[in-house]
Symmetry: C2
Subunit: 360 residues, 2 copies
């Protein structure tokens, strides 16, 4: 496969999404281009704005093709409105470049709801996928530093077979994005005992248990919120309502604690002096908790991979999202995921097994 792959992986970028505007996006691409010679960019947005930004970046020369678009999807635009009226937007063009096979993967910092809806309609769902999902990287105690959690907000509903598919899609992501050969999957619940939780969770527990061996995953069963960053699990599966609440609750908790840390080191003159001395230790802490390192929610279950960067992403965060997009595109992730979902939907005797291919 790789012998026929082009030297450069082409990433389709929405230059106009995000709170910080195209300057932050272009600066992020420059960081990525400097580190990785195998990336090329298709950049969608306002050409007169983008040209001088790119001209300033030595690392981007000859690496970026600009596709001019007239319009921008605003952060507060209603997804359905964008769907009807957004043909001239940079977001639309960014996704269509993947649809048309001009690019391998798409990245946008724009409006999540609009990006999800456009991705679903333009790329369409993979055969056999009922609900696509958004997967995020969650800081964890595992050696790689991150676990995968899905769905964190593509759809507020999920039935038992959706949760089974999330388990399969999350496992594919863990293999191809994090390099984990046999991912450990946990199903989020309010307790680890099998009798706990909604009926749909009990049924999903059974479905995933039965599918685990063929899918080469280790199903650890129910996990609780406290286990999400644990090193006993690699992928946490839940519906998009619960996942979104959990993700934002963790964000709120981290913000609160970071605020307390700042205050505890500025309350007295002595504490301020101490903070100077403790700078290296606090810096190491900040680095480990830096949300920019984990930037990039991935839309799973579509004919093409879309990486959603934070709306407020700065150049470092955008570069991190680009790196994730590159890794997934190079691994042939989406084709493997499609095979995985298809096989989990077949009867066992019909399963031709794509295990070997996916682990290769």
């Amino acid at each position: 496969m790789t012998s026929n792959a082009p030297k450069r992986t082409i990433i389709s970028i929405d230059a106009m999404g995000g709170d910080r505007g195209p300057a932050a996006v272009v600066a992020g691409l420059a960081l990525s281009a400097e580190k990785n010679p195998d990336i090329g960019f298709l950049l969608h947005g306002d050409k007169p704005t983008l040209e001088p930004l790119i001209a300033r970046e030595a690392n981007l020369q000859g690496r970026v093709e600009i596709r001019h678009t007239q319009e921008v999807v605003t952060m507060d635009a209603k997804p359905s409105h964008v769907m009807r009226n957004g043909k001239e937007t940079s977001m639309w063009a960014t996704i269509d470049a993947v649809r048309n096979h001009e690019a391998d993967v798409a990245v946008s910092c724009g409006n999540t709801g609009a990006l999800m809806l456009l991705s679903m309609v333009r790329l369409r769902k993979l055969p056999g996928v009922n609900r696509p999902a958004i997967a995020c990287l969650w800081p964890s105690r595992n050696p790689g530093g991150f676990n995968i959690m899905l769905d964190v907000g593509a759809d507020i509903r999920a039935d038992d077979t959706d949760l089974l598919q999330y388990a399969m899609m999350g496992a594919s992501y863990a293999r191809n994005g994090l390099g984990i050969a046999r991912p450990r999957i946990g199903l989020l619940n309010v307790g680890t005992e099998e009798h706990k939780g909604h009926p749909v969770l009990k049924s999903a527990h059974e479905l995933i248990t039965n599918a685990a061996e063929d899918a080469n995953i280790e199903f650890v069963g129910f996990v609780e919120g406290v286990d999400i960053p644990s090193d006993q699990v690699d992928v946490i599966v839940t519906d998009g309502f619960t996942g979104n609440v959990a993700l934002k609750t963790a964000e709120g908790t981290a913000n609160l604690m970071a605020g307390f840390i700042r205050e505890s080191f500025t309350e007295t003159v002595l504490a301020k002096l101490t903070a100077l001395i403790a700078k290296a230790s606090l810096g190491r802490l900040k680095l480990r908790m830096d949300p920019r390192r984990a930037n990039g929610g991935v839309f799973l279950g579509l004919n093409g991979t879309v990486v959603k960067s934070h709306g407020s992403a700065d150049p470092v965060a955008i570069s991190s999202a680009v790196k994730l997009a590159f890794t997934l595109a190079r691994s042939g992730f989406n084709q493997k995921l499609a095979a995985r979902v298809a096989s989990s939907g077949t009867l066992r005797q019909d399963d031709m097994s794509t295990k070997d291919e996916e682990q290769a």
Copy 2:
């Protein structure tokens, strides 16, 4: 009312619940007794074990009545089993003392599920309450340091009228436990826009909006996970599944960050030295995040108040749960909550309004 109140508020305590055993419980009571001369204790458990523990504590002399019980509810006991066979346990006796009006409020560090089920069956639901809830104190940016969140796990289900009742019960708790005259209520969702979320949330939004003025609460509408510790809200309302996941996710996030903080200050010799110097600042931080300060989930919606202390509570945490129980009992909280729930269930023209009483 207060003129007829007994000088001492009697707190019914389960001495045998909890991971640390009766010694930690008795030490916690001694801390409370030292600080507060208006508390008396009804202590349920194994008399031969408890007598020497109490004899050692000067502050507890003449303040504790021991009620001997033969049996203990273990932490892994099935609630239904305790319900059928638990008549001789210290937990059962602890709750029955409230039922029999021998005590004003109950405190236990034992098995949450069993405590909830026993409380529901022995104390029964308040008239008009469909589902009781567990409310917890959540560290926040508000001046008092805590917000109230409910339900965090009494029942995994909640319909729109349940969520309305949670809003009313949480508001009563905020008034009587935290001294907030006009509590601000938020309804947990995946976005703040009114079109977001499950239908039951939209319907609850409407119910709470309509009830807000009569109930003297400020309904701030939908809030997200990131807003739970915010200073824009005092009470966060959600179903017991989502609330339990959020609570445990926050716990997991706080644990992870605390671990990172420890490691960042021990990675190098210089960092270890720095940590010594930073000890005061780190100590202040630890104090603000100390879960023992917020110890005590409160069961709301029953004929009597039950405070659930952490299973692993140490004496400081137990004393903190006792203080909360005392504050709620002294405020006549449960009677006011009953009146509030009753009034929210009546038609507006029938509402005789208990506002003045509750705010007194």
